[in-house]
Symmetry: C2
Subunit: 246 residues, 2 copies
């Protein structure tokens, strides 16, 4: 047992294959490996990283499952083109936002959210149950009580949006929006890290809630769109797109 060395840095509860997957994943996301680029062999790679081939291979399996890699005997392991990546995968989003996320992709996510959530609000207005409505209301109350600058307040905000998604009764929409919402909430954390929020978000949320309560689909859609528009306006990243909405 001569070499009982650690990999390099003491990671939290993560297993080795998870840290390798995360490291390789972020390396690919940040462009340190280009699409089409060939990886070194398993033996060399695992040796260089100071881990067993087993752990390295399991890491590669994870990245293959996320559409980032491809591996075949004799051909080796190479990075797939970007359009094959599952960029909406929650773990991948977490990797992106752990580092310095690409502002262009953040814009993409907000844009996608702007497409998804108003539609979700509309479906929710049509299909919500009274129980779901009640959960939304208490979440909104909590949000007002604690404010968005506290963890409790943000959790309440999450609950509110999640319940809207659940009320859509659309699993696909729900899965998607929860991923995007989580990613966007990372940026919200960024926002609050720099400056405290300048605006009270409660009225927008209440308007959406009222519309859903009244089963007013058009108002729900419009209210959510307005909410997102205001939220986006609070952020600095609005500037990446030179041309406005027109």
């Amino acid at each position: 047992m001569a070499s009982g060395r650690k990999v390099g840095s003491e990671e939290s509860g993560l297993r080795i294959h998870q840290t390798i997957a995360r490291d390789l994943g972020t390396a690919i996301l940040t462009g340190r490996y280009q699409p089409g680029e060939l990886f070194e062999g398993e033996i060399e790679a695992s040796d260089r990283l100071g881990v067993s081939r087993t752990a390295y291979r399991e890491a590669v399996r994870i990245l293959i499952a996320k559409g980032m890699l491809e591996s075949r005997p004799k051909a080796g392991t190479r990075v797939l083109p970007r359009n094959r990546w599952n960029v909406l995968d929650p773990e991948m989003l977490a990797w992106m936002f752990a580092g310095e996320p690409d502002s262009r992709f953040i814009r993409d996510l907000f844009e996608l959210r702007g497409v998804i959530e108003p539609a979700a609000a509309e479906f929710a207005a049509r299909r919500r149950t009274d129980e779901q409505l009640a959960v939304m209301e208490t979440a909104l109350d909590d949000m007002g009580r604690y404010g968005l600058s506290t963890p409790e307040g943000r959790a309440a905000d999450q609950r509110f949006h999640n319940m809207i998604l659940a009320a859509t009764r659309n699993d696909a929409l729900e899965a998607l929006a929860s991923s995007v919402g989580a990613a966007v909430s990372w940026t919200t954390t960024f926002k609050h890290r720099k400056k405290l929020l300048p605006r009270d978000p409660l009225p927008d949320h209440r308007a959406v809630f009222q519309a859903i309560a009244a089963r007013d689909t058009a108002a729900a859609r419009a209210g959510m769109a307005e909410l997102l528009r205001l939220a986006l306006a609070d952020m600095d990243i609005a500037l990446v797109e030179p041309n406005g909405e027109g």
Copy 2:
């Protein structure tokens, strides 16, 4: 070396861990394993399947990467709740549609597509380049030449929609819509398996194309919405939702 038996059925080029992942994945998707249910231990499972623990573990890693499983020492490996699954993962969609897909989820996918693609058409109308427009046109020509009942025609249809997505200049939207689009095309195959298409889809496509060419965002959105509405009307699954659009 007493038992050199094969796993059971001769799979095509798939590796062992891939087939195990697919089998377990479909078993979970079809409800043969319920959320929260505990798997048997790795040794028992790999032994029962007649494969090595390595291969079984790599399969489990894949399913964990897709949000279907969770495993911790001493606690075992268990199925995660449905809302944790990455149901938009292309591979998962393929697994679903390989068997008898849940009609409720198909409805969800169509609904999601109805949200995504009109928005994508709108973005495409605003941001498309002339080159992208040219590709759309040739795709449309091919589609007209071969018809949707031929593989070439369907490929052209795919190219048309994919180019719209590329023209949105939104990676997140593109990744999402390509997954959903692929899944929906499986159902299109289903449709044509039963009955040949009763309607000429070309006019709808041309309308969308014209709008994108003219950079008419509203018309592009409306045209795409209409296209999807008609496509959905062709399918049998419209009946799952008793209440119409209103």
